[in-house]
Symmetry: D4
């Protein structure tokens, strides 16, 4: 039993002190997710895995009983992280109960953890709370954790928040890592990332680029 104070600590992500976890984003479990439209959610879990690439964050993948109905991780995620440890848990629900997983996380030497998983109320929340109890600062990417209903997700996020977990969007995770568009990684790396995973910003930027390339014709004007 671990006690964790509920008071909020504003600690920003330090890209040099962070590890990213991909927790049970398996193709079978994917079907359980009902708080996001399916294509949106697939985009979000790819974005979650990819942000670690952008910032060269150490990454740990884990699955739960993947030979059963839960299924394997999407191959795209595995291929993104060919050298990351992929811990296949045969029984533990809370990944922190698995020694290999704990060792893999500890081996990174990082004290900040960015995570997302399926389902939010079980795989994400149990692990996040264990990490808090262990002294880690935890950032839950809410866009990439999926639950059987929006309501269940809300309750799970509230539970994590009460323990001091930072629950926020994938966009906020990326910006928190970057801090300044002039950094490296900065605009050169993040703009392509947003172009791929954040359609709203992608097309804002493309529209802007097109305006510059093409000049100032308004609807109804001719060249």
């Amino acid at each position: 039993m671990a006690n964790t104070a509920s008071k909020f600590t504003y600690e920003r992500i330090d890209k040099n002190n962070a590890v990213l976890l991909v927790v049970d984003h398996q193709v079978g479990l994917f079907q359980l997710v009902r708080d996001f439209q399916a294509d949106e959610y697939r985009n979000n879990i790819f974005a979650h895995a990819a942000i670690a690439k952008v910032f060269s964050l150490p990454t740990v993948l884990t699955t739960s009983a993947e030979t059963g109905p839960n299924g394997p991780l999407p191959k795209e995620i595995v291929e993104m992280h060919p050298n990351a440890p992929l811990i296949k848990r045969n029984g533990e629900v809370d990944a922190w109960d698995n020694k290999d997983f704990r060792d893999a996380v500890k081996a990174t030497g990082k004290k900040q953890v960015i995570l997302a998983g399926i389902t939010t109320d079980v795989c994400t929340a149990f692990l996040a709370l264990s990490l808090i109890a262990e002294g880690y600062t935890v950032y839950a990417n809410a866009d990439a954790s999926g639950a059987m209903s929006k309501r269940i997700a809300d309750d799970a996020n509230d539970r994590m928040r009460a323990a001091g977990v930072h629950v926020y969007s994938g966009f906020a995770v990326a910006c928190d890592l970057m801090r300044d568009w002039r950094n490296t990684p900065g605009s050169a790396e993040l703009l392509p990332y947003f172009d791929k995973y954040l359609a709203q910003y992608a097309y804002l930027a493309r529209g802007h680029a097109a305006a510059i390339d093409r000049g100032a014709l308004l609807p109804g004007e001719t060249e």
Copy 2:
């Protein structure tokens, strides 16, 4: 008047230290529940009662004024727990105000309480808060507590959360009890339970089993 600190404590359910309460899931009160579709909610209250069977948890049933419009418990729930104490309160709204109920709970010797009831804002919340004040760790199964509106449920759950109650899904309750699929109870007991009460997981598992039995034909292929 009892003071309870609002700080979050991450305490996992210990299946050897937990009692499950069925609070006023009566057929009359059932009609008041408007934050779940009715068939879904009936499924959820059966699942709540049944998880105690899977883990052989001591169980206490209680009703409020059941000879009146509130009505009796569904017979399926009573039949699931033929030996559990069923405390029929003649007047107390908060079950903890009833000595027989308090005695029944205390007699289990458990310090963790898993509960759900109708309505969330009255029967569940009043009891949960009294239990917290009494020193119990409380786990509210949000799927199996029903309220007159989603909004009222949200307020009630927030109120319980502020007192340190763990508000989460029935799926999370089951996984928190199990911890590891290799345990006993584990997959052998939980998969049939999910087959019955969690259609999403049920049909994921059935589809998986069928794939193995039948081999690898894709749509359009012939045997």
Copy 3:
């Protein structure tokens, strides 16, 4: 290409002239359904299959590529209808394109068709429109057809309505078949059916029965 007038014809179901179709309610396809909560939807497809039992309606089951990811029908549905033809389509999306299926429907000699399927916009709608074109009167049980979103279901139902399909609830289907509680089947057969598949009515009836059995105590009164 078939032309079908859009004008509405009020034709009630004649239980002696109706066949019920179970279309692709397969455990894999079940995962695609996002316009109903999963446990509610499973209840609804069981209720759809079961109403044919109550009224001894000829029934035809069909599946699409069931050896593939679509998976088999839930065994409960198959077991309900051990003697019904189960047409396993190897490729046809619209079941009416399959000669065995057409023959099975035609063999019943009925001119009214009650159907539901997964997904609403494809399996249900394509078949319903083909049946209308063929001259059948078609009743779509909207509770038991599932789609990838509520929006897609709405569009599909509008499309069927435009062709004269009667789109209504499972409760309305049952009442349309029964017409009078004094008929056979009537209250003796329908009340147990509603007790099983329609929790709202089930507990209304149970509460009523309990009131009669137990007498008139109000909350706060003692016996």
Copy 4:
């Protein structure tokens, strides 16, 4: 500036130590309320005022600039409480800033305050927070406070909760006051109250009474 601890204290309403406040439920301001359907909300503010009558709670009414567009209180509320002080504030937004109002509340000698008002984010929240700062225990009847959107109400309720305000439903307020159906006031007083203001419970009780009066005929049976 007042500091108020955020920790949750579970203090039940003591009907002998409570005052009820009706805050700016004025007919003009009524039009601003968009987080409840209008007839439902009118019912809720009447229920709020009426619960004080059931329990003979001292009651204070107040209005803001009632000769202007905000308008007067509904006459039904004023007529319910002919002897209650009605403090007409000419300018103060937070009623606690008005000396007459403070004096009226203090004159009751009560330390628990049940309140509701229009709008939730201004009239209710400002006063509730002032009362907390003053040392009162505050119970906000969420059904009877109205805001310009559900979202604004949620934010306001969260703000009050953070200060330790108990935010819950009118049904929970009534049950918290009663505690036991055998008390006085108890079922004899509350059942008529619920019959008037809580249609769900009203018709549950009426159906029950009718069942007892009329005997056990099921649909389809004849006398």
Copy 5:
């Protein structure tokens, strides 16, 4: 089998040619209604019955198996119409199948029917479609018909619309009957009706009356 053209006919209500039907607004069936908040819906069914009083429309009440769980009509509705025929159907789901009911409607000699009932998809829709088939013009008061879900109500209303039923709000029914505020019944009769059953308009009118009585003080001004 009756054929009814789907083309829309704009026929206004003629208060001298209209009968109003109250269909199965029973206290037990009331619990099945989930597409309106309960207090709002009770208000709406009272408003439906009351509009017949305002315009002295002949009125027919009917119930389905009222000695069973469906329960009796609310006494307020019966008391509003002490001389109206109350046809207690012992078995017929579609009231038009009951000869007494048909006779009662025909005895009024009216060709326009305003109706509402529980549930929308069964009691309201079956009767409405039978009436259309019989040649009546039918006006369905959508505010006063209740269904087990909004979705089921939408499908039922679409089905009625396809047959030419006018589906609209209770407010529109009242205004269609009145046509001109200077008529009798007109403002003298309708304003009190709206004051009772339409809180939005009620408080608009009260605020207006108060403004005239009290003069032009704005917030912050003193008398």
Copy 6:
């Protein structure tokens, strides 16, 4: 009684043959509108009145009992159309029942009518249906008609659609009038109109203009 065929006729707006009606957009009735957020809706009714200015459409304003609680039109709308007839109906609910109004519309000589009003189910729908019966082609600007609920608006719009009314957005009305950005009025007149009344397009255009003015710096680049 007028019969109107339900078949759809695709008739585009002809700016030389269209009159625009502002129906009961009064400040009191404005409070009844609950299917739009209030500021959004105010914007929409201004946009409705303003499109007539852009295209110099003859315009008729009308109010219902404006000296009573319904109140006057917003002065902004009246000031936009200083020379338009403003028909103050003293009693008629359906504006077409008022001879002055009919005369004003007929005096324009136009056969296409663009209209919007409060409330959708009464003021807009009654008039629209009367106009259809009279042989006009009717375009209902759905953004600028307000109802007491979204549900009531949907039913009202369905009713108008069944009679052949074109129900569409204010944006579609404007584009239907313009047809080609190179026309007069075209981009020169419509872009300022959208800048004022359609924030989404406004800021798209402003962002585009800024891109051209300022050149191609991306986030993180410096000039």
Copy 7:
């Protein structure tokens, strides 16, 4: 002015007689779409363009004032169809008003048109209605048309439906084109298509494939 009968004709898509239109899916206009989440919608417009590739349908692309704020098409769509005519309209809102566009469509010689565009109420609906008037059978891919609100989309789709347009999902479009999984294109072409654009089906199929590859271990079992 063209008259089009409203009666529904069930005409299936004939892949040899169909042309697909991409209408104004421009990166600027993309920002106006608020009835879909942005990443989901981008996926949907790519899926729309891609289905033409799968079935080798003649395809016509068009844009509206693309040098202005509306912006160009996403390059991915243009690159998918390097040889398709891309008609850049300088002013016409309804693409059918543009002779080059009409010629391009007519040049395909097809009589069935599958289309989607931004916005649904203007670009999609205006063109769809013109095509109906011209005698084409029109299939609107509702997933790939975007509007400023869900409500505006619903109204636009209803308007198209009234003219006989088939409004349905992208999944239904694909299945209507394929008809049978054993056809060419059939499962060999469609499964990769769904893997890319329909995450729900993609992961269902991947889970199935993994089950076959890996054998039958359930959670908790070890190899």
Copy 8:
């Protein structure tokens, strides 16, 4: 790293001690906002900037990479505050990381900060948390901060609340600043402000004024 206690402090806004911040309300970023309807949101950001004018609050404007796709501030906001510092950040995501911005805020000498920005989860939340860490009391105007979804906004607001930020409506901000309608600024300044930016209150006041001017005619009465 800064620790901030989570306990709630009720501190009212002191108009003499407050600075208002406009954070990244840029025309490009505006397109990302999906948790408000666009016209409503534009109104809200104008209202946010304007309240500083009413109370003569020192104001600081800032933009992020405004020469890129994010675009400039709406000119209306810049013109409202011609003398306010406008800090154009070239790279910093959290405005507090920009020295010029910090200096501008500090130069005001105020300890209370009212802010809003785009997006809520990044620009608003990062800055708000930095300000809390710096010792400021922070008031977030929730109406004027926009996010990519309501869900993301909720999570962001919860995160700010956990740090002690006051998250409330623009109406509450204005009332908190004013405190008493008789103050200066008071009704004389706030009523015009509400007339412009708060349509609900605007038309309530206009209706009231009209009632006084015109006298007491009810619908149907004639002068």
